[in-house]
């Protein structure tokens, strides 16, 4: 029994071609036409019906919708502030989420307090939903720590930089949730690039075999630094799941409502013992990979411009306005709140002290280590020697 991929296949060469293969590149199958996305709001902000997922946003109120809008606006504002703080030298680096607000807020707001989130390094919007103070996120980008919050306070794990690793941590955590008999779920974020890492595949395998309550949330923002998604896969990423025995869904990642609905569906499945699911949120990285990156080296600005028309915030705004769910006053207040957030972030970052030098040795071990003790003492004595010399 053959399972054919859904990719368009190159017709077999006629034998008159001499059987010689041209370069693999030429022979590679064409990208398939884009599969259907789950979408509840069109780019113009029109609500469209979806038989499968409408129920997950059935009870949503105008207040909720304004809340989602506010989350996206504030997240974008925070993100912009961080970018400019990097420009000003207050941060060493920043990884902007610009364009991915709906993917992050929609999924983040689908989680329950007792759920647990494993982010990459770009989930500032999810952190926001989890109640992590955004200024906490800046420590590692400023270089004062490698992770500035207690993961257990908001059930939001530390940012993970090494691509894909956290999907296994999420799976293990979810195995623990199941062992505990709890009905929480776990959600693991990763990127289109990350989908190629062996660790992600192993996470799929473990989660399926143990039927762990984990949702794999892939933000396919079309790029892994300079590499387009074609360098990672020749079929849509959400299809990866089926070969591991769990469902995969592609959702319009710029449609906050659709993301919310699909993520709720997946988390609910996980909670009720149906095991893992993969969500591919189809979105776009509007900015550079990080502030160190220069996308003009590798991508055409046309692409970005085309995606601007699908902006997640404008889309929800259009819907709110057309439904009469928000008035001028709401937008004005939010604008003020944005400014205040920006200001607070700026102030907190600028006041963020450098860590104590001895922090080098802190927390290397939980129970201590003789060599660390020895080196700490030497280091302290060495530092003291400068003080003795009156600062050499």
């Amino acid at each position: 029994m053959t399972v054919e991929s859904t990719a368009a296949r190159t017709p077999r060469r006629s034998s008159t071609s001499g059987g010689k293969r041209a370069s693999a590149k030429k022979a590679a199958p064409k990208k398939s036409t884009e599969p259907e996305l789950v979408q509840l709001l069109t780019p113009e902000g029109k609500r469209v019906k979806n038989a499968q997922y409408d129920e997950y946003v059935a009870g949503i109120t105008a207040d909720d919708l304004r809340g989602l809008y506010r989350d996206m606006v504030l997240t974008r504002r925070f993100d912009a502030e961080a970018t400019s703080l990097q420009r000003q030298g207050e941060l060493g680096l920043w990884a902007s989420l610009l364009g991915q607000e709906a993917a992050q807020i929609g999924s983040g707001r689908a989680t329950r307090d007792d759920d647990y989130v494993f982010p990459t390094y770009r989930e500032h919007g999810v952190a926001w939903c989890r109640g992590v103070d955004p200024t906490n996120l800046l420590g590692m980008f400023r270089g004062v720590n490698n992770g500035g919050w207690d993961p257990n306070t908001n059930n939001f794990h530390l940012y993970t930089i090494v691509i894909g690793s956290q999907t296994l941590h999420a799976t293990g955590y979810a195995m623990g949730v199941a062992k505990d008999g709890a009905d929480s779920a776990v959600i693991a974020y990763f990127g289109d690039g990350a989908s190629s890492q062996g660790d992600v595949a192993e996470a799929f395998t473990f989660s399926a075999v143990y039927n762990a309550p984990v949702v794999f949330f892939c933000q396919n923002n079309q790029w892994a630094i300079s590499e387009p998604t074609e360098k990672q896969t020749r079929v849509p990423l959400y299809q990866r799941a089926q070969g591991y025995g769990f469902p995969g869904v592609r959702v319009d990642g710029n449609d906050v409502l659709a993301v919310l609905a699909v993520t709720k569906w997946a988390l609910e499945r996980a909670r009720t013992g149906e095991g893992p699911a993969l969500i591919e949120a189809f979105t776009y990285r509007m900015g550079a990979h990080t502030t160190s990156d220069d996308p003009s080296k590798y991508r055409n600005d046309d692409e970005r411009v085309a995606w601007e028309a699908k902006d997640p915030i404008l889309r929800l705004k259009a819907y709110l306005e057309s439904e009469g769910h928000a008035d001028e006053g709401f937008f004005a207040e939010l604008e003020a709140e944005s400014e205040a957030l920006g200001k607070r972030v700026r102030e907190v970052v600028r006041a963020m002290p450098d860590p104590d030098l001895m922090a080098i040795f802190e927390n290397a071990y939980a129970d201590g280590h003789a060599l660390v003790d020895e080196e700490r003492a030497q280091f302290a004595a060495y530092q003291a020697s400068f003080a003795d010399e009156g600062g050499k």
């Binding site: 690793s165 999907t167 062992k179 505990d180 660790d199 927390n363 290397a364």
Partner: protein, 326 residues
């Protein structure tokens, strides 16, 4: 319970059993650890008695095993992971050095990583490739990990108890060719600290330092040397990270000579660090440079050559003679 005579493999088995009994958060994970009880039977009977939820046969993927163990630790569990053989730990190396070792520091101490990684290691069992390696230096160099290896049944039992109780990740190297060596285990004893070395034979002319499978070789060498009138002290290091340099130093201050023995290649093996540090600490005491006996800088050879590759009695004694000749 009293004192029992147990082979090392069984001592570890009993230690795991005790841990499973005492703490519901302790889990055993690995390939074939369940029904089979592991290829060396170290986990024999545990799944039967504690169930599949506590003693978990995993998919065949070492990165996945360690990566999920990290997640389980984040959830409050204390996983004891088995890597089937030394040569198969490398697929998990990234998760070990990049995640497991650094998570506590990354979280500024807010999370702990009480994960034990058991690795049957070393040669001498006539195995095929990848089944006889000694990669301990590759872990000891990495901050955030602790690395230990017992040489006898009592240590096997107690060090495993302590490794499981440790809030830091411990790489637990088990001397596979000594699995069947019997020794006394007193389950009512009060063990010394996990990372403390022990003088297992006293002597005055030279110190031999070793750990895991090489302790026995060193003891035999000391016995042989005694017949020739040379008095060798043997230090069982027990821990490769941290290394108990104080104990080695005390010994060397007395004997003034040190030979370090391990199966791992000499070049950048743990002996290099011991030589460097003891030379610094005992510069005016040493009558000879610290000498090292270990594997060569070549891939572990096929079984029919391993006797020549591994440090044995003759090579140890030869090196002792070289040291004494200074």
């Amino acid at each position: 319970m009293g004192v029992q005579k147990l082979p090392i493999a069984k001592a570890i088995n009993e230690s795991l059993r005790t841990a499973l009994e005492n703490d519901p958060k302790v889990l055993i994970m690995g390939e074939d650890v369940g029904k089979l009880g592991g290829v060396f039977r170290v986990t024999d009977g545990l799944q039967k008695d504690f169930g599949e939820d506590r003693v978990i046969d995993t998919p065949l993927a070492e990165s996945g095993i360690v990566g999920t163990a990290i997640g389980l630790a984040l959830r409050g569990y204390r996983p004891v992971v088995e890597i089937q053989f030394d040569g198969f730990v490398f697929p998990a190396y990234d998760q070990i050095v990049t995640q497991l070792a650094k998570m506590h520091a990354r979280a500024l101490g807010k999370v702990k990583m009480p994960v034990v990684i058991r690795i049957p290691y070393g040669g001498g069992i006539g195995a095929v490739e990848h089944h006889s390696e000694s990669p301990e230096a590759l872990f000891a160099h990495v901050a955030g990990l602790k690395v230990v290896s017992p040489s006898n049944s009592s240590d096997a039992y107690w060090m495993m108890q302590q490794a499981i109780q440790s809030n830091d990740p411990v790489i637990f190297f088990e001397p596979k060719r000594r699995y069947w060596d019997k020794g006394e285990v007193d389950k009512d004893a009060i063990p010394g600290p996990l990372h403390k070395a022990g003088v297992v034979r006293e002597g005055t002319d030279l110190t031999l330092a070793a750990y895991g499978p090489m302790v026995k070789v060193c003891l035999e060498a000391a016995a042989a040397a005694a017949e020739e009138g040379k008095s060798l002290e043997v230090v069982d290091l027990r821990s490769m990270s941290p290394i108990d340099f104080d104990t080695v130093q005390s010994s060397v201050e007395k004997t003034r000579r040190l030979v370090v023995v391990h199966e791992a290649p000499v070049f950048l093996g743990t002996g290099a660090e011991i030589a460097a540090r003891i030379t610094e600490r005992c510069f005016y005491h040493l009558e000879a440079p610290v000498l090292r006996v270990g594997g060569y800088h070549a891939p572990y050879p096929p079984a029919r050559l391993e006797e020549e590759y591994l440090p044995g009695l003759d090579r140890v004694l030869d090196t002792v003679d070289r040291s004494l000749a200074y």
